[in-house]
């Protein structure tokens, strides 16, 4: 009964439109603004880690370089490319919704999830597994190598940063894949069309944000110490 009254006053809404907004464009911009505000809090969330990294890298640049050189730069670079590709497919999923293409939306979303899963697979199955076998997990049989010359505790701290930062990033990716699963179902049911694709766009912003975090993690963790050979250092 109440529902009928509302419709009598406001008229029928197009699908996905909430009646408190003036029009679809205002609803879309309000949603976007809210998502950006959330991302601003995420910047501060990761920012604390980045800031601690800056402080300790300034204090112990040698130990951080030693740690950085032990990471597998090939997997780091390939994973960067995988994430960038997933950002492209995410952007294309939104583009498909904007241009009213139903099926490509679903396929681009599935592709984005596959690329996200590939990133996590490479990270966990190859990199973290190798780190475990090389005794590089802090506080868990961490082996202090003689070539670090007394800086072992600080190399261990580098790996603490490495696992915390990549771990938090991976957690965000897992959450992102969960969100993408819901979006894929919604897209398959034809919920998104030219005028309404706000959930896709907001989730896209989140996915791209996670990509940007990795864009900074890659140089800070994998390239920070340089990859050129140092005379007298074998590792």
């Amino acid at each position: 009964m109440a529902d009928m009254t509302v419709h009598a006053v406001h008229g029928e809404h197009p699908p996905g439109f909430a009646h408190q907004f003036e029009d679809m464009e205002q609803q879309r911009e309000a949603g976007n603004l809210g998502m950006w505000l959330f991302l601003a809090t995420e910047v501060m969330f990761f920012g604390g880690l980045f800031m601690s990294y800056i402080v300790y890298r300034t204090k112990y640049p040698g130990a951080f370089a030693d740690g950085s050189r032990l990471l597998n730069v090939k997997f780091g670079a390939v994973n960067t490319a995988v994430l960038i590709a997933s950002s492209l497919t995410m952007a294309m999923a939104i583009h498909s919704a904007q241009t009213g293409k139903k099926k490509p939306q679903v396929w681009y979303l599935i592709l984005t999830m596959i690329l996200g899963a590939l990133f996590l697979f490479l990270k966990f199955n190859f990199e973290w597994r190798a780190d475990y076998h090389e005794h590089l997990i802090p506080g868990f049989g961490f082996y202090v190598r003689p070539e670090w010359g007394g800086g072992g505790a600080h190399v261990q701290m580098f790996f603490l940063f490495y696992f915390f930062m990549t771990g938090l990033h991976a957690l965000h990716m897992i959450v992102g894949i969960g969100i993408l699963t819901v979006l894929t179902v919604m897209a398959a049911r034809g919920r998104f069309y030219e005028q309404y694709y706000a959930p896709l766009e907001s989730s896209g912003l989140y996915w791209h944000f996670v990509d940007i975090i990795w864009i900074f993690l890659f140089p800070l963790l994998y390239l920070a110490g340089g990859r050129y050979p140092i005379p007298g250092v074998t590792h």
């Binding site: 603004l33 601003a40 730069v73 950002s87 952007a91 030219e194 140089p219 340089g226 050129y228």
Partner: protein, 112 residues
């Protein structure tokens, strides 16, 4: 049609640029440039971030209010890092001032 539709070729151009920059930053790490290794790596990272933010995240086509939130986020991060480093990096700068007597000569010098 609501919202700005970015042409597919723009997305592809951004994608290719991001891949090239990733290759470049990795290749440059194998060249010994001393402290400039980190500088170059971060400049490339910021360039990549701008490409993602402007095109993939549509900031180039967003209303000013949305851009303001992004600028505020970066600014607040900058405040946090700057103030923390202004403490951390200056801890060695201890100046031993014993009471007022240490600064009194400077005040006397101001008098005629």
């Amino acid at each position: 049609m609501s919202g700005h539709v970015v042409p597919v070729r723009v997305y592809l151009a951004v994608f290719v640029s991001l891949l090239i920059l990733t290759g470049l930053t990795t290749a440059v790490a194998f060249v010994d440039m001393g402290p400039f290794n980190l500088v170059v790596a971060l400049v490339i990272a910021v360039a990549k971030m701008l490409l993602v933010v402007l095109f993939f995240m549509h900031i180039k086509y967003s209303p000013p209010l949305t851009r303001l939130v992004l600028i505020a986020a970066v600014l607040w991060l900058g405040i946090m890092v700057t103030l923390t480093l202004s403490d951390e990096l200056t801890r060695g700068w201890e100046v031993k001032i014993q009471g007022l007597s240490a600064i009194l000569p400077y005040f006397r010098a101001l008098l005629p």
